[in-house]
């Protein structure tokens, strides 16, 4: 574990808590919700409904990127 974990409370040690998993889950849900929503709105505006799934996939990709950043660099 990287030294910047020092700010975390004692007793946690080098272990990632199980609730870390729920954070990843909420990133995935949040990413799809947000970019899917934006895609859906733009899709309605421009008359291109395909932008809704495109937005969802973009959100999913970004959420996965966030999880990778979080795991590898913190």
């Amino acid at each position: 574990m990287a030294p910047d974990q020092a700010g975390r409370p004692p007793g946690r040690g080098g272990q990632r808590p199980a609730s870390e998993g729920w954070t990843y889950f909420s990133y995935l849900v949040g990413g799809m919700l947000l970019y899917g929503g934006i895609g859906w709105l733009i899709g309605r505006w421009t008359g291109l409904p395909v932008l809704f799934p495109v937005g969802m996939l973009t959100g999913l990709a970004l959420a996965i990127a966030m999880i990778i950043f979080r795991v590898t660099r913190s």
Partner: protein, 272 residues
């Protein structure tokens, strides 16, 4: 023939329907989660889940009040039991997330844990037999309390600007991608958290109660002087096994709800 069937079907109800009687299986549905008001007070209908929630709250309150009324150094009886409960919440939920500094949140977490657990437990207690948490308003109300609490703790611990930067900037991400990732972090911290907290508890309790209803009703429906008796016994055994499973899930869901609350509090108050 069809007329006779229709007449027969119109007299069908879950209490009298049996196999080969011409009545269909009275499948449980979402309607089983809606109750007629028991009584109406000032235009507000009091329903069974409301009563159960109040009973759960009052029971938790009364139990801990009685248990710690005259605390003794060597605990006996109710105090012993209450101490086991409090220590379980402290050592398995609070300490791993918040450390020793988080002991000030112990009353909050103990209340949430036992309140949720008892409301879940009502799903398998005979005569009550309904988990109040399977109605979305109860988990949603609790999630709202948790949501307000962790936002307040975060703002008080770090000040509004630092706290906002904390919940908007994902850790470990390079700066050039932040405009794309910050909204996700913000949405997941502010909207997804209370939402998933609510849905997880509600959906688990709803599904569990529905499952028990399916097999409970089936063992009654199949109960007849025919081959159905065999199926009925099987269905009844499955009901018992599923009840055991429900006991586990009810405890687990209360545990997860409280663990995540502790985690959100830790996340809000920890220095980054």
């Amino acid at each position: 023939m069809t007329d006779a069937r229709a007449v027969l079907a119109s007299s069908c109800n879950p209490l009298t329907s049996h196999l080969f009687s011409g009545c269909r299986y009275p499948a449980p549905s979402i309607d089983d989660f809606y109750f007629k008001p028991i009584l109406t007070v000032g235009g507000i209908g009091i329903t069974k889940p409301m009563v159960l929630a109040v009973v759960a709250g009052a029971t938790v309150l009364a139990f801990f009040a009685v248990a710690f009324r005259r605390p003794k150094l060597v605990p006996r009886g109710a105090q012993n039991l209450a101490e086991v409960g409090v220590l379980f919440v402290r050592d398995s939920i609070l300490r791993p997330q918040l450390g020793k500094a988080g002991d000030k949140y112990l009353p909050f977490l103990v209340s949430i844990f036992f309140f949720v657990w008892l409301m879940n437990l009502f799903g398998i207690i005979p005569l009550l037999e309904f988990p109040a948490t399977s109605r979305i308003a109860y988990p949603a109300g609790l999630a709202l309390v948790v949501w307000i609490t962790y936002l307040t703790v975060g703002i008080r611990a770090k000040g509004p600007i630092t706290y906002f930067r904390n919940i908007a900037v994902p850790s470990g991400a390079p700066w050039w991608i932040l405009p794309l990732l910050s909204p996700i972090e913000l949405v997941s911290n502010i909207f997804v958290r209370p939402f998933t907290l609510t849905i997880r508890l509600m959906a688990n309790m709803l599904a569990g109660h529905l499952l028990l209803l399916v097999f409970g009703l089936a063992s009654w429906y199949l109960f007849s002087a025919s081959i159905g008796l065999l199926f009925s016994v099987t269905s009844f055994l499955v009901t018992i096994i599923l009840t055991g499973l429900e006991v586990l899930i009810q405890l687990l869901q209360a545990f997860i709800f409280t663990t995540l609350t502790a985690y959100y509090l830790a996340d809000a108050s920890a220095a980054h």
